[in-house]
Symmetry: C2
Subunit: 424 residues, 2 copies
């Protein structure tokens, strides 16, 4: 939980600097808002809330717990369309609930972390979102990650150019999406198994494959040859790339033509973050100009990105990326209790140490000191402060480092500084 | 929401300095955990979740949404009793759900903010909790508030001394609890209406009333006369007062013998925060040494305090106590878009301003400048930055203060500093 708070704190800080506003929506929506939005399987995984009062006995549900953050966003846009700004930029970090069977790394309640810009088709929108996501990752300590960028319409164009009939586009994309996992040969077999002609399959493989080291401009140049010199989608990608190059996204973009992303609601640019030596991504998103129309009745341009919060926490934990203050114990120093008479003194010392910003615990009872030390050790508290009779008489504090047994006596007024310097 | 984040940030910061650990529990508990814990009326107000899958059609519920933070805490203690430390200090800030009819200031989903120490009967526990709560309020900007302190056993002792039979104690306490609202005469009538003899009623009124300005030590001295010189509860109150005097609670405590607090599960000290010119309290709590036993089968000493988060936000808003950065707009400066060619330049300027910590928006389209200014104004953005052809040629930025129309041209590299200085 402390780790999650750390990550959320960084995300908030960065997104607010980009002018995204925090949004929270209630845990439950009207059940009709959610049903039918996630397919038949999704309907089953939605937690449904019984009607209250006299209607409880009916066994019917009228509310349902949030299943993702996108549908509540669309509902808010539809409901407040006249009050929202022309370009509404919001982020939302809240739990969602899915009635999956709990398993390792899969919970019925988990956090999603979405950022979306609503109302503009400008490529500035994609560039800003990518830039903010990269700022988050850099600030969390990630290095060497890549932004995979592609475009839904480029995918269609390449499939057309390869001779895949429109009716088979979705089949082809499902196969293509596995390129990272199963390699060129695997995808070739998938293509054939899904009824795509061998000739079209080879053309696809040739045009979709991009060397990991190819600069985006070279990929875009190649695209202009394969498709039309003036293809809108390629121009849009080029605009996004050139804007993103002005930010800390510079040098991280790879136009990866094999990126398909499963969700069918994307209409323009699609993007994903890849980290070396990590299967899967830390997050992904894209432009979805038609989705809000499902609720509103008219289309509203939109682009969003979802960071994989739980995934990020797992990776940062495995790789030891959390600062000591986050991954270490909750308390910097425990003030021991010498005897009953020293109670008020211990309280006053704790007050001063806390005032300096240290996290301080007080042992509640005048037990034997050894027992108090042992308790602090068991709680991973690195330091104990002792104010015995001698220390009280001399206006000092003894500070013991429980990690190495080192004990020093310092002036009462300097105890906070002493501890802060040795905390690390 | 920005306001809530501000308050929660302060609460977190303070509680962590006191060695309280953050706890989050899932939104739903098994339904049996909640049913029967809040009385018959409470049972009706609990949101119940339908069974999933093949059992959905049964219309039965097996889960229920969190109704408060105390019962989930007791459940966690019972479940993890062997893994928790001897003195477990936790805070929890999460929404709870109640199926009340929504009304002004009453929501079906609202935040509770609890801090509890589990496992010790030491008066240090009460003093630490009071001190942390006062630190929170001081840091939020509250002044002149009072800590009302009383003790459940002192209440019983005084009622006994006044000749109220044990069977009528609860009736008497309900009446007494209204002293603040209905005054001495009102409570006298209530006492009589509730069947308490006139003689006992007068004795009660005499012993429970405490002048607002009476120092705690005087009240305690008086208590020692009325009750036993060595009364445990009075000694406990005196110990809490003397420990709390070592902290910033000093000078704020009023031993208020009329404080009863509704909840019947308190067993020792009870406390509440009163603010001048405000009916009701900003929070309250007390010791409840028997409650955890309801779940665990054996009693565990515990003491807690619940801050009225939503109340605090309302009062701070009404009294203009939020810092400008919290109550003001979400964005410090909007970078305008001069023309299509200036897009990358606008992006780069936004990058630098954001890097300096400013909250920056970029206008997405190359509309007329007047339209862009108007949009920024409507969004309460105080500054716009303009990089037109002249500015680009000279390496400058024009910064316009939309609040007074003042416009200045500064060197590109000094724009961030210029804006930060004028933001306030």
């Amino acid at each position: 939980m402390r780790r999650r708070e750390h990550v959320i704190g960084v995300v908030r800080d960065v997104y607010e600097r980009y002018g995204f506003e925090p949004l929270e929506t209630p845990a439950f929506e009207n059940i009709e808002t959610l049903l039918g939005k996630y397919g038949e399987e999704g309907n089953k995984l939605i937690f449904k809330i019984l009607k209250r009062g006299e209607h409880e006995a009916s066994g019917e549900a009228d509310l349902a717990l949030r299943y993702d953050l996108t549908v509540p966003l669309a509902r808010v846009i539809a409901q407040y369309q006249n009050e929202l700004p022309k370009l509404w930029k919001r982020y939302q970090i809240q739990p969602v609930w899915r009635a999956d069977r709990p398993a390792r790394g899969r919970f019925r309640e988990f956090y999603q972390c979405d950022v979306d810009s609503i109302g503009s088709q400008s490529p500035t929108v994609e560039a800003e979102i990518l830039s903010s996501v990269c700022d988050v990752l850099v600030q969390l300590g990630f290095e060497g990650f890549t932004v995979r960028l592609n475009h839904r319409m480029v995918l269609s164009g390449l499939l057309n150019a390869a001779g895949v009939p429109a009716a088979q586009h979705n089949e082809a994309l499902v196969a293509l999406d596995k390129l990272d996992k199963i390699g060129v040969d695997g995808v070739r077999q998938e293509f054939v198994a899904r009824g795509i002609s061998q000739q079209a399959a080879e053309k696809c493989l040739a045009s979709f494959h991009v060397e990991a080291t190819e600069p985006p401009d070279d990929t875009l140049l190649r695209l202009r040859h394969t498709l039309d010199e003036k293809d809108d989608a390629v121009a849009n990608l080029a605009a996004i790339v050139s804007l993103a190059e002005q930010t800390n996204v510079a040098g991280r973009i790879r136009v990866d033509l094999s990126l398909a992303r499963g969700l069918s609601y994307y209409t323009g640019a699609i993007m994903e973050i890849a980290v070396p030596d990590l299967a899967g991504s830390l997050g992904g998103g894209g432009r979805y100009d038609n989705l809000v129309g499902m609720f509103l009745g008219r289309d509203v341009p939109a682009c969003g990105f979802s960071l994989g919060l739980e995934r990020i926490i797992v990776v940062m934990t495995e790789r030891g990326m959390f600062p000591a203050a986050v991954s270490g114990g909750a308390v910097d120093v425990m003030v021991t209790l010498w005897n009953e008479d020293a109670r008020a003194d211990a309280m006053a010392l704790a007050r001063d140490l806390r005032h300096s910003g240290l996290r301080v615990d007080i042992y509640p009872d005048a037990d034997k000191l050894g027992k108090q030390f042992k308790y602090a050790s068991s709680r991973n508290v690195p330091f104990v402060a002792i104010v015995g009779d001698d220390e009280r008489a001399q206006g000092t504090v003894s500070v013991k480092d429980l990690r190495n047994g080192d004990q020093q006596t310092v002036k009462r007024g300097e105890a906070a500084q002493h501890l802060r310097a040795r905390r690390s």
